[in-house]
């Protein structure tokens, strides 16, 4: 082997090693999202209504203090299996800002046709109450993040307390005692304090209120909020594909028959 080709070879190996090293560190920094089993995945997926109803309870009691759900109306909750009267009962204690008949600002009890009440009067109020940045609206949050439901579940369950962090992690990500460290948040330092914990809510149906259960329920609810027509879409899709397959078979037979004298 000539000196020149040796040089080229070693340069190539060095380059490949550096490239491989870069890839390896990039992978180290991003822990894999938890793989949760979701009933709404796949062509036959459906939402677990009981879980989503518990998820609404969590949204109402916890998330809605800061996060809006602008695209939804209270009437949409009927799609989760609640009756009209149950929805009316759920919203009866919510006061909505409106304009009265005489044009003055009033507060009135919520109706099922109202959009979900916003936690803050406007974007600026939301930002100033939350350290300068408004908490994101949750209407399509499950569709708006890489990893979807697993990401949201990961964020809700991925907090690590400061005293459990390794000195190395603290140094790499500049974590202080006042920061919240989350395994799955890009950059790891997240402004949102841990919203859920064991026993954060009390379920009426007796379901055990562990952190994992609460996170799973609220993600089920938010997944439904992001894609409320998923079940109808799946049902229609199965019929459409079956029809098209039958039609394809028929067209193939017709095509064969038509071409029979030409082949």
């Amino acid at each position: 082997m000539s000196t020149k080709s040796k040089m080229i070879l070693s340069a190539t190996i060095a380059f490949a090693a550096i490239a491989a090293g870069t890839v390896a560190t990039a992978a180290d920094n991003e822990p894999e999202l938890p793989k949760h089993e979701w009933g709404f995945k796949g062509p036959f997926g459906t939402y677990d209504r009981a879980s989503a109803q518990r998820g609404y309870q969590i949204y109402k009691e916890v998330c809605s203090a800061c996060h809006s759900l602008n695209m939804l109306s209270y009437r949409n909750l009927e799609e989760l299996g609640l009756t009209d009267n149950q929805v009316k009962g759920l919203v009866s204690d919510i006061q909505i800002a409106d304009i009265g008949d005489d044009g003055s600002a009033i507060d009135r009890p919520a109706r099922p046709s109202d959009h979900f009440k916003k936690p803050f009067a406007n974007e600026l109020a939301a930002a100033s109450a939350n350290g300068g940045k408004a908490p994101p609206d949750l209407s399509v949050i499950v569709k708006a993040r890489e990893g979807g439901p697993n990401y949201v579940y990961g964020i809700l369950t991925g907090y690590v307390p400061f005293d459990k962090l390794s000195p190395d992690t603290i140094k790499t990500f500049n974590v202080t005692k006042d920061d919240y460290y989350n395994l799955y948040y890009p950059g790891h330092r997240i402004a949102m304090p841990p919203p859920l914990s064991d026993g954060k809510v009390t379920y009426a149906d007796g379901t055990k209120n562990t952190l994992q259960q609460e996170a799973s329920d609220v993600v089920e609810f938010l997944a439904w909020a992001s894609e409320p027509h998923l079940e109808q879409r799946n049902r229609t899709g199965v019929r459409v594909i079956l029809f098209l397959l039958a039609m394809a078979g028929l067209m193939y037979a017709v095509k064969r028959a038509v071409w029979a004298d030409k082949h």
């Binding site: 490239a19 870069t22 890839v23 796949g42 062509p43 602008n70 695209m71 939804l72 949409n76 994101p136 609206d137 209407s139 399509v140 569709k143 708006a144 993040r145 890489e146 979807g148 890009p186 992001s226 409320p228 027509h229 109808q232 879409r233 799946n234 229609t236 899709g237 199965v238 459409v240 594909i241 098209l244 397959l245 039609m247 394809a248 067209m251 193939y252 017709v254 095509k255 038509v258 071409w259 030409k262 082949h263």
Partner: protein, 411 residues
């Protein structure tokens, strides 16, 4: 109605005969879509013209209904799309058909273009037919780009920022052009309004150019997998029922794949960031165009100079315009071009490599691979194609389509 090869049709229905005597639309349909002599040896690649036509009609039909429910206002566009998804009856279906329809329209057209490249469909006497096709591709790109802006998500906004800013690379008048495109000094409501208007207009211009494309096609008829001219009735079959039925089968197979995406993974081809409302103050970590633009995006970024990158990106399409004159080989079909065949297939690999580079941030290996693939893309068209046509020894051509078909049957 009865008709045979070449003879004018005789209409038994008196009303049709009366109309046709004054406005020969029925004679036209009979001549161009019924008895039209078509080479008998098409393979399934020849389905994609019909498939692309079906997708164009589907995009216009869903698009018109979506437009009746959409609000082209920077404050309302995002929520109006969500309202279509949630509250308009079957709105989710219309929106997902349209959104995924764009991708599948491009899939059909890219396969259609590959078919033309591989079987030399662009060569004399079909140069104008091919060039009209490139015009359609350009119009499709403009339409798709402006359509992607309409939901006013983060990728809509920042994609529009990147693409419109490309024009600022033009010396002297660049900045004025950008201001003119935006309708102001930033991307805002006027930009959204004009993009909506143009997104509604351009598809109808595409329909007009498609009509010219078909007129040009029907002068000399279709090319075929052997790339040799038809020599008489023994080489052809009437378009109906032979190819109407075969196209029907192909269209339905294509729709199966398309519907699998629409119903079971409608967001798989899109970017999650477009479900975040546009925010001019927050730049996404990565700005990536839709998948069908990725190879061109990679060419844009392969050149370290802005103007150079823009010129190369548009050059990648411009080179297709002059393709009929770059290819010096007199043989059309790659079936009889033993060397060039492999280079065409390698060009496909090259374009896929460009696509992968376009999808990733320009770091590490993606930089040299993207540059190499860009150089190869232009090398293929500007150097390889003219030179190889002179050097390559094509295989002997069959004397007629009928002969080749009969030989295959005997084998």
């Amino acid at each position: 109605m009865a008709s045979s090869h070449g003879a004018p049709p005789v209409f038994n229905n008196k009303v049709i005969a009366w109309i046709d005597h004054r406005l020969p639309i029925f004679s036209y349909i009979d001549k161009e879509y019924n008895t039209f002599p078509t080479p008998r040896n098409f393979n399934y690649f020849w389905n994609f013209g019909a498939i692309a036509t079906v997708m164009l009609v589907l995009m216009i039909a869903t698009g018109v209904v979506l437009a009746t429910n959409y609000t082209p206002n920077a404050d309302l566009a995002f929520s109006s799309v969500e309202r279509i998804m949630r509250d308009v009856p079957s709105g989710w279906l219309l929106r997902y058909l349209h959104m995924n329809g764009a991708s599948f329209f491009f899939i059909a057209v890219y396969i259609h273009i590959f078919r033309g490249l591989y079987y030399g469909s662009y060569k004399a006497p079909r140069e104008l037919l091919w060039m009209l096709g490139v015009v359609i591709l350009l119009l499709m790109m403009a339409t798709a780009f402006m359509g992607y802006v309409l939901p006013w998500g983060q990728m809509s906004f920042w994609g529009a920022t990147v693409i419109t800013n490309l024009f600022s690379a033009i010396p002297v008048v660049g900045d004025s052009i950008v201001t003119w495109l935006w309708g102001g000094f930033a991307i805002d409501n006027p930009t959204l309004n004009r993009f909506f208007a143009l997104h509604y207009l351009l598809p109808f211009i595409i329909v007009a150019v498609v009509a010219l494309h078909v007129v040009a096609l029907h002068v000399h008829g279709s090319n075929n997998p052997l790339g040799i001219d038809t020599k008489g009735p023994q080489d052809t079959v009437p378009f109906h029922p032979y190819y109407t039925m075969k196209d029907g089968f192909g269209v339905i197979c294509f729709l199966i794949v398309y519907c699998a995406f629409v119903f079971f993974m409608p967001n798989a081809l899109g970017d999650v960031a477009n479900y975040i409302p546009a925010n001019p103050l927050v730049t996404p970590t990565e700005i990536v165009p839709e998948w069908y633009f990725l190879p061109f995006y990679a060419i844009l970024r392969a050149v370290p100079d802005k103007l150079g990158g823009v010129l190369c990106m548009f050059g990648a399409i411009a080179v297709l315009f002059v393709l009929p004159w770059l290819d010096t080989s007199r043989v059309r079909s790659c079936t009889f071009r033993p060397v060039y065949k492999w280079f065409v297939l390698f060009l496909v690999v090259d374009v896929f490599a460009l696509g992968v580079c376009g999808a990733h941030p320009p770091e590490g290996w993606y930089v040299p691979i993207g540059r190499l693939a860009t150089v190869y893309y232009f090398f293929h068209f500007l150097i390889l194609l003219p030179v190889l046509g002179k050097l390559e020894r094509p295989l002997p051509l069959p004397s007629s389509i009928a002969e080749a078909v009969l030989l295959k049957k005997a084998a």
